[in-house]
Structure formats: C-alpha cells, structure tokens
Symmetry: C2
Amino acid sequence: MVSNKTVLFDSIPNHEPVDSLKIVTQQFDLDRQLAPGEAILKVEMLSLDPYMRSRMRDPSIETYVPPFTLGEPIDNGGVVIVLKSNNAHFKVDRKYYAGFTLPFSEYALVTEASNAFYTDITDAELPNETLIGACGLPGKTAYYSYKQLVRGKAGEKIFISAASGGIGQMLCQLCKMDGLKVLAAVGSDEKVDYCEKTLGVDRAFNYKTSDTRKELAAFGCDIFYDNVGGKMLEDVLDQINVYGRVICCGQIATYNSGAEAYGIKNTFQIVAKRLSFQGFITFELIPQKPFHESKYNTIEEEFMATIPSMIKEGKLDVKNHVYNGIEATSQAFLDLLRGDKHGKTVIQL
Amino acid sequence: MVSNKTVLFDSIPNHEPVDSLKIVTQQFDLDRQLAPGEAILKVEMLSLDPYMRSRMRDPSIETYVPPFTLGEPIDNGGVVIVLKSNNAHFKVDRKYYAGFTLPFSEYALVTEASNAFYTDITDAELPNETLIGACGLPGKTAYYSYKQLVRGKAGEKIFISAASGGIGQMLCQLCKMDGLKVLAAVGSDEKVDYCEKTLGVDRAFNYKTSDTRKELAAFGCDIFYDNVGGKMLEDVLDQINVYGRVICCGQIATYNSGAEAYGIKNTFQIVAKRLSFQGFITFELIPQKPFHESKYNTIEEEFMATIPSMIKEGKLDVKNHVYNGIEATSQAFLDLLRGDKHGKTVIQL
Ligand SMILES: NC(=O)c1ccc[n+]([C@@H]2O[C@H](COP(=O)([O-])OP(=O)(O)OC[C@H]3O[C@@H](n4cnc5c(N)ncnc54)[C@H](OP(=O)(O)O)[C@@H]3O)[C@@H](O)[C@H]2O)c1
Ligand SMILES: NC(=O)c1ccc[n+]([C@@H]2O[C@H](COP(=O)([O-])OP(=O)(O)OC[C@H]3O[C@@H](n4cnc5c(N)ncnc54)[C@H](OP(=O)(O)O)[C@@H]3O)[C@@H](O)[C@H]2O)c1
C-alpha cells in the first residue's frame, strides 16, 4: 500500500470554484492482482484547462462535456509512467500522454476503456509540460482551428484574446508565419512584452489598463479569435471591419459568472457588418482532412509531423506555468481563471 | 403649382420615433422647365421598412445605411407614374418601381442619378403593394437569403421569427416548398392562424402568450432565421440543436432600444454547440450567381423569372397592410415597429 493523494470534486461552485476541490489521501495497492486489461500508472504531470470549469456543474445541465461527479476524483489530461500492466496497450516503464480521463491522483488504475485516450510518448524528446501544452490540447486547438477555420491570408488583421495562454501563444506564432498582422490582448505588462518580443506579434496591449476599443480602432481587425467572450466580444463587434469573421474558441470571462454573465447588446452589428461566427470543439476537427493542400490524411497527422519538430528546432516558442505538487491544483485552477499565471498551466507531481 | 404633402425627418428619436416625422405641405411646379435628365413623378405608393429606423440617427454614427437628414424628406422604395420627362429612362405615363431614394411626397423631381433605382413595371400585372412587398425588398430578401444562405434541406427544422411580416411570409412558403419543418413566431393569434392555415407552416405560436423556449424544445431547431434579435435570440441559443445555424437578417426588437438594448448572456452556446452565424445585406446578394444549379446568371434574374409568376398563379400567398394617405406615414411606422399591423406595410397615396 502507498498513500495516494487525490483531488475530489467537493461542491458545485456558483462563481469562482474556491471550495470546489478537496485533497484527500487514499490508499493505493501497488501489489494488487491485475485483471485482464488493467494497468497501474504513476502520474508525473497533470493538465489544467479552462473547460474543466464547465464540468463543475449541476449534472442535470446538459452541455458539450460531461459533469464531474461529486465525491469522485476530477480528471483531465496528463503524463504517466506505467508501473504494472495486464493490458497490451500499456507497456511497463514507458511514458504515456493522456488526452483526457486521467484522474487527479498520484497513482491510477486504468482498464481497457482508457486505451483510446493514452499515447506512448517515451521517445518524444520533449519535456512533459510541452507535450501537454504546445503538443497537447491547447497547441492542437490552436493549430486545427487556425488551419481549418481561420485560414488566414497574409496581410489580414487578426485580434487574439488571451494571447499568451496555451492556445494564444501557438496561434500568434502560426499567424505570424503566414504573414498575418496580429493584435494581442493580455492581462499584464509582462505578457505584453512576451507577445511582442518572443511571439513576434505586431502589437500587444494590457486590456486591464488600455482601452480595447481604441486599440482595435487603431490597429484594424478582419478576424477575431475569441478565447474570452463577454465585454471584450462586445467591444470587438463595434470595432471589427465589415465582413469580419469571429472564430469562437472559448469565453473564459463568462465561466465563473453564472446568471450574472455580461450581456452583449450590440449583436445587430452581425447584420450591419455582415459578420460570420463559427464555434468549434477541438476533438471534432481531429479526424478532418486538412482544408488546404497537404500530404497528410488528417489535420492531426499533419500536426504531429510538423509541430513537435519545430519546437525542438526552436522555431516555435513554448511558455508553460508549472505548479509543484498535486496539492497546488485548486489554487492553480483559480489562478488560471483569474489570469494569475503565464502560459499553459500544468501540475508537476 | 400643386400642393405637395411631404414627410420630413424632424427629430432624432431616442426610442420609439413618435415625434420624428412631420408632414408639411409644399408647393410643386408641375409646369417647370425640365433640365436634361430630369423627370416629374407622381407617387402612387410608398414602402415602409424596418431598416428606416436605423436611418433616423445621429449622422456621426456610421453604419450600413446613410442617415436621414434633419429637415429633409425621408426616402425609401415605392411605385410612381411618370408625368413629364426629359430623361430617356423615364417614359411618360409609365409605371416604375423604385427600390430606394424615392422621397416621401406626392410629387417628386428626379435626375439621372435616380435612374439605377427605378425599374419599369407597367406590364407587371400585379398590384402595387405586391410589387413593393413580395416582389420587392422583403420578398427578395427572403428569396436571396433562403437560396444563398439558408440552403435548407427537406426535413430540417427551421425557426422563423416575425414570420408573418414581409420577409417571414415569403420565407415560410419557400421553406415548405422544399420540405423543411417550419416553426413560426408571431405577435398575435390572428397571425398564428394565418401562418398555419395560409402559409402552411407546421406550427406557429404567439410569442407574447406562449413560452418560446418550450415551443423550441418541443419542435426542435436546426436553423434559426432571425428577424428579431434580443431576448428571442437568447432563448434560441439555449434551445437550438448542436451545429445549429443562425441566419442573421435583422433585430427589430432592438431598433428602438438604444443603450437599453437587451444583453445576450449565453453566447458561450456558440462554442458549446458549435453554432455558426451569418449576417447579410440583401443588395449584396443580388449580383451573386445562384449557389445551387440554376440556368440564371444571378439570383435576381432567377427571382424575377419565377416569383412574380408564382404569385399570379396563386402558388404563393401575399399579405400586405395598406395605409391610406401620406399623412398615415408616422403612425404606420410606429405600428410596424410595434407589430401592430399584419403583413408588408405600404402607404397608398
Ligand atoms: N473550443 C475548444 O475546443 C477549446 C479547447 C480548448 C480551450 N478552449 C478555450 O480557449 C480559451 C483559452 O484556453 P487556453 O487553454 O489557452 O487557456 P489558458 O492558457 O489557461 O489561458 C487562459 C487565459 O485567459 C485569460 N483570462 C482569464 N480571465 C479573463 C477575463 N475575464 N478576461 C480576459 N482574459 C481572461 C488569462 O490571461 P490574461 O492574463 O491574458 O487575461 C488566462 O491566462 C478558453 O476560453 C478555453 O475554454 C476551447
Ligand atoms: N439584412 C437585410 O438586408 C434586411 C433587408 C430587409 C429587412 N431586414 C430585416 O428583417 C426583419 C423583418 O423585416 P420585414 O420587412 O419582414 O418587416 P415587417 O414586415 O415590417 O415585419 C416586422 C415585424 O416584426 C415583428 N416585431 C416587431 N417588434 C418585435 C419585437 N420586439 N419582438 C418580436 N417581433 C417583433 C412584428 O410582427 P409580430 O406581430 O409577429 O411581432 C412586425 O410586424 C427586420 O428586422 C428588418 O430590419 C433585413
């Protein structure tokens, strides 16, 4: 028996999930007899992503992700080492990336139902946090949506919110490679510096101290890649160019606000400016063929064949915020929703 | 000299345009010498359309339509007879349909600048109100946007707001011809009857006395054709199916509300349900080739070759609300914005 710290879903939050996660120490039997299909994993790193806020809800509300279960561990993506296995998919001592379903605990027992979510990354030659971030959900979200939906052309002006986050940082760089003009909104001066000096955007501003409308009016905007929603989306509708396109990735500004969400009053601009909006969910883009000419069969194949090597060659910058110890989970998640972190959020166990 | 009653733009409204239009009686010289390009028109009928509310604004605000000028006549579409002409485009005693730019007056003097807006309809064999409505702006708006943007498939469920209005009545019928299932929202029980019995929609309801969310939940909704915006749009976002499409034609519920417009809080549904939105302006669709297979070069050609004859053959119903006398303009426009009329609004002179 070893002790196994686990993060349980403890209460449904109305606003900020301040008391929603509870750390408990359970016992885990490393010597248990494994049934066919079972494997024991040691968790090395866990990923925190904004969409987990939607899972902290009353289970009677239906939406695009299943709810967390009260009293049960929360789960998400991460990196694990296989300690014991009675499942051909999981090889002992090898390292796996889990896209989803990994419980927030130090050790985990999985069955064959998990196979589809775990990929062997032993030979990936990249740090865990990069495999979770730039090569994981946020990196893929940026890449797939950029190639399949944004389809930017050189010279087009794109406004990116939450631009230094996991998705934003990758997207800014993809846009610059294709010659787009990038305006980036971020929540601190340090992030402004990062976007301009490291990511190479044309202009970044701190939306807490600068006027978003004035920035948009001065820079121009053909495309809005929206990670934030709320008031910022309203500002964009008044400033975006005629025929503007809005790619709706997320609305992090609204996740904690419940019934008091900011109400957007100027949706008539969609008619007056002939705007289009497109919402998407990353995993639905995975199996799609690349929209552009490509030698790859799916957009995921193309991503795997190009992005990790570009990162290794230093052609793409990657910024992660690493918290230490599973106990940091609750605070790290609050920081993520508040913007009090810089880059992709991961927990090092 | 004859007296020439004229409707002037008298004050910029904050909410309902109750005092914005003023009738004055001016003098008009029917015997004047016409300069080259001039013609004298007698106005037979005038069209009132919701977008005219956007023109009653502070001219410093830029949007998709030019503002009315304080102290000058308002203008829009209508039907005229040519009394005198020194312009080859305008032939004496013939009847013309004006799409735009016809001043609200009993007589009008036009120059060559007007030629592009006037079409000879002497041989059209349809009543003026039908030429203005079903064969004019609202009919074309419904047809062009249905064929180019809605692109409905048999069995798809479409929700249409302001369904008995100029656009709605045509759209309901086009959808039924293609086998779509139509849910119609209207503002009175009489209009409910009209939609179900005359237009043949699958279900209509009075949104003032029935719960829009419950109606949508019971009927289902793949496509929302939005003429109204505001609270009804918010209701739809919560009820529309995954991958739903919103065709943004207008937001009449917001035109009078100014800064107190209803704020839409649930735009995150665009992401969660992977929705798309498309705004459009009718005149930009005119020159487009039909999206579907068609022997016509433009969608306008196709419309003119099919819709007027279908109306003559009784295959399409047309409902207009005819006001008498130019003095009725102000009240008729208030009625239009309040929904206190049934069908396309026109003024018979
Ligand atoms: N559609 C999909 O399939 C999909 C997939 C993954 C993620 N997403 C969405 O994409 C968005 C970004 O995700 P991510 O992984 O890049 O997140 P992330 O790295 O955690 O970045 C989130 C950032 O959002 C910013 N933020 C937080 N509250 C804000 C507010 N009230 N106003 C403005 N900015 C705020 C903060 O940065 P600042 O300091 O700059 O404010 C924060 O660092 C989220 O909305 C997420 O839900 C969608
Ligand atoms: N995009 C374009 O190019 C274009 C072109 C033309 C028109 N439009 C827009 O299309 C829409 C319909 O135009 P139309 O010519 O068909 O107008 P219409 O025949 O005058 O119909 C307007 C109808 O809207 C309904 N309405 C008014 N206030 C409402 C409210 N607060 N909530 C719900 N319904 C309300 C009323 O019917 P009920 O009794 O049923 O409520 C009214 O009869 C308008 O928004 C207009 O601005 C757009």
